[in-house]
Symmetry: C2
Subunit: 168 residues, 2 copies
C-alpha cells in the first residue's frame, strides 16, 4: 500500500484528480430525476441516490450546480426520482447528455395528475417533496420526502462504475 | 404498470414497507466508516456513500440515528471512509453486525498518525473532516471534506442490492 497524498493539516485538500481516481473504484446505482418548475420538463441522471430514512420515507441525491437541471430543481417544490434498470441504459445516457432535448423522442414520458414528468421504462419511481437543499462545494445535496411510489418494470439494476454503465 | 400507492396530499407519506420495497431495486456501493471520538474505535457499514464535489473534495453518507457508531460520528471531528472491494465482503458483514467487537480479530486495523482507525483490506480509503451533519427522519446525513486518500488493493467493487452483497 502506498500513501499517494498525505497532508499535515486539515486545511490542505486532496486534489480533484486523486479524489476522482478514488471514486472510480466506487460503484453506484443509477437514477434519473425529473421536475417541472413551471418552465417545462427538466431532468438529469444522478449516481448519488440513497435511501435516507424509511419512516418517514426520505431519500437524498446530489446534483452539480452547473447542471442544466439545477435551476429547475432549485425552484420546484416536487420531483420524480426514477430507478433505472440494466436494460434501460439509454435513459441514463439521454439524461446525462448536454445540448439535446432530453424529453424528445425516443424518450417516452407522461405527466402525473400533480404535473410532474414521469419517464416510461423505469424500474420504479418515487414522487418527492423537496424538503431541503444544502450547497456543498460545486454541488447541492437534496433531501426529498417520498409521497407516492410506483414499482414498474422488473429487471436488474443499472450501475455506474469506473466511468461506464454496467449490469449487476 | 400498477400504481401501488397514490396520495392526494403531500402531507401523507408512503409507508415504510413500500419505501423499502422500492429501494430493494436500487444498488449501491459498500463502504465502512470508522472514527474515534476519544472513546475507542467505532465503525459502521454504509451503502449511502456518494461523491459530492471534486473541487473542493467532498463526500456524503448517511447513518441511522440508532447505529452504535452514531454517537461517535456525532462527536468526532474526523473519520475514515473505506471503499470495500468484492473480495472483502467480510469487512462489510463485520461492520454491519451488532453486539460484537468489530475491531477484534480477524479484523486488522492500525491508526493513522492523526489517530483515526484504518482497516486493512479496503480498496481505498479517504480521511475526512466532518463538515456538516443534517438530521433527517431516523438518520443523519454527513458531509465530509477529504483531507487524505490512499488507493490500496485493486479489485472490483462490492455492491449491496435486494438485501445482499454482490460483486460487479
Amino acid at each position: 500500500m502506498t500513501v499517494l497524498t498525505s497532508w499535515s493539516t486539515p486545511a490542505v485538500p486532496v486534489d480533484a484528480a486523486l479524489f476522482r481516481q478514488v471514486f472510480r473504484r466506487h460503484a453506484a446505482g443509477v437514477a434519473v430525476v425529473t421536475t417541472d418548475a413551471g418552465r417545462g420538463p427538466a431532468g438529469v441522471t444522478v449516481t448519488s441516490l440513497a435511501s435516507l430514512s424509511a419512516d418517514p420515507p426520505l431519500l437524498s441525491f446530489s446534483i452539480s450546480a452547473t447542471a442544466s437541471s439545477w435551476p429547475h430543481l432549485r425552484d420546484a417544490g416536487t420531483a420524480v426520482v426514477h430507478l433505472v434498470g440494466a436494460e434501460r441504459a439509454e435513459l441514463a445516457h439521454t439524461f446525462a447528455t448536454s445540448g439535446i432535448d432530453r424529453f424528445a423522442a425516443p424518450t417516452r414520458w407522461r405527466r402525473l395528475p400533480t404535473g410532474e414528468p414521469v419517464l416510461d421504462g423505469a424500474a420504479a419511481w418515487l414522487r418527492v417533496a423537496i424538503e431541503h437543499r444544502h450547497p456543498a462545494g460545486g454541488s447541492h445535496l437534496v433531501i426529498g420526502r417520498v409521497m407516492e411510489a410506483e414499482l414498474a418494470e422488473r429487471h436488474a439494476p443499472l450501475l455506474y462504475h469506473d466511468g461506464g454503465y454496467h449490469a449487476l
